[in-house]
Symmetry: C2
Subunit: 213 residues, 2 copies
DNA sequence: TAGATTGTTAATCGATTAACAATC
DNA sequence: TAGATTGTTAATCGATTAACAATC
């Protein structure tokens, strides 16, 4: 299998950004792409790109580069994006609603099959075509769907409580958009998506950026 | 000034997560907090927490820890969150709308004063109390407001084009929620917020996580 | 005083970058 | 062939972790 045990987080985070670049070149009719070209486009080091790509198990040909078809396949397989994965979303508030409408997910094989909320005015409705179900019966429904991935967009105060229900229902991957740090068993993967970290980076970059003349 | 030239990105990204923990303890009436306590709460190494905190210029007292009042001040000052910063948002689609409704921003001193869109049906309306203005006059309005920060939530195809307008209008910090890699002058800070990187991490963690029994 | 915790210097670890032979 | 690019090994760099004296 291509998926390495000793994966490097930085590599995994960079890999998805290569895909649109490669796809653009494919659209232009190219059959091969070199690490040099990808690196230039994304303002990265070409050695780094080559090393990242080698993680996926692909091999290139000197002078030509990597066969585009095989390369996209290899990246997607490495990331687990080659087959679709069902997911549910909990908390159909502002952010939850936005994520339900984020069509790009399907491109990555993520298929949100249902959303849950506690607000009785939302239950039964559809948001961006996805049905909102009662969060109280979440446990049973998740087991029925046999779904493994959950997007967590509830208020931070209920995050841990909700996560506990999810884990008990068989969820093994939680994409956590709340600010709360979750405590889960070690067989459950949690990916923290933290806006305040991003904002902190922006501000510090602005403070330290060279001033415009 | 506390803001170091040689800031470490990892430290900057971790610092915001300390704030809610510290605030919780403050609510409980505590006056001091130790790195050990913060580390335990966030499942981090206490040495790492101490080193991160020292970046802000705060000094603690052995045995007691850090004075909570001073510590929150120091972190917020370091991150530039002590004074409010005006910002505009471009692209009032799904994600843009969600961000307009994300009240947490105010806590970090980010104040979105207006949003821009090209959709004539949205122009003139208010979303979460924020007025939607015509994107065609964006240039002039940004200069009038003298605003420096922009949240970019337009479709990826128009990202570079929009960024060029923003930069010409005097924006020096772009929080980029599009998948596109932006090319900007070096005095402009760009913070890329990339959902596909987060999803990639989640999937790889799930693939490599120890199986449940 | 004894012990917890700070602040700092040194050691380890991992990721990025450099170097270079292999090859199409 | 000559030159661009791969794949890989070595060197550098930075971040995390360990160690420990200082101190309240």
């Amino acid at each position: 299998m291509a998926q390495a045990k000793n994966f490097s987080a930085s590599t995994v985070r960079r890999l998805p950004s290569y895909l649109p670049v490669i796809r653009d070149l494919q659209q232009e009719g190219k059959e091969f792409v070199s690490a040099t070209v990808i690196a230039e486009e994304l303002q990265l080091d070409s050695i780094q790109v080559r090393k990242d790509l080698s993680m996926t198990g692909i091999t290139g040909t000197p002078k030509k580069g990597f066969p585009i078809e095989d390369l996209t396949d290899a990246i997607e397989r490495f990331l687990g994006w080659d087959s679709t994965s069902d997911a549910i979303l909990v908390g159909a508030g502002n952010l939850g609603t936005a994520l339900l409408g984020y069509g790009e997910f399907l491109l990555h094989g993520l298929n949100i099959i249902a959303a849950f909320d506690v607000n009785s005015r939302k239950i039964g409705a559809r948001i961006h075509g996805i049905q909102i179900l009662n969060a109280e019966t979440m446990d049973i429904q998740i087991k029925n769907f046999a779904v493994k991935i959950a997007l967590l967009t509830v208020p931070a105060e209920c995050a841990q409580e909700t996560a506990d229900v999810l884990v008990n229902a068989g969820i093994t991957g939680i994409w956590n958009f709340t600010g709360a740090k979750l405590k889960v068993p070690e067989n459950v993967a949690v990916q923290q998506e933290d806006l305040s970290a991003g904002y902190a980076m922006l501000r510090v970059k602005m403070i330290t950026a060279p001033a415009a003349e």
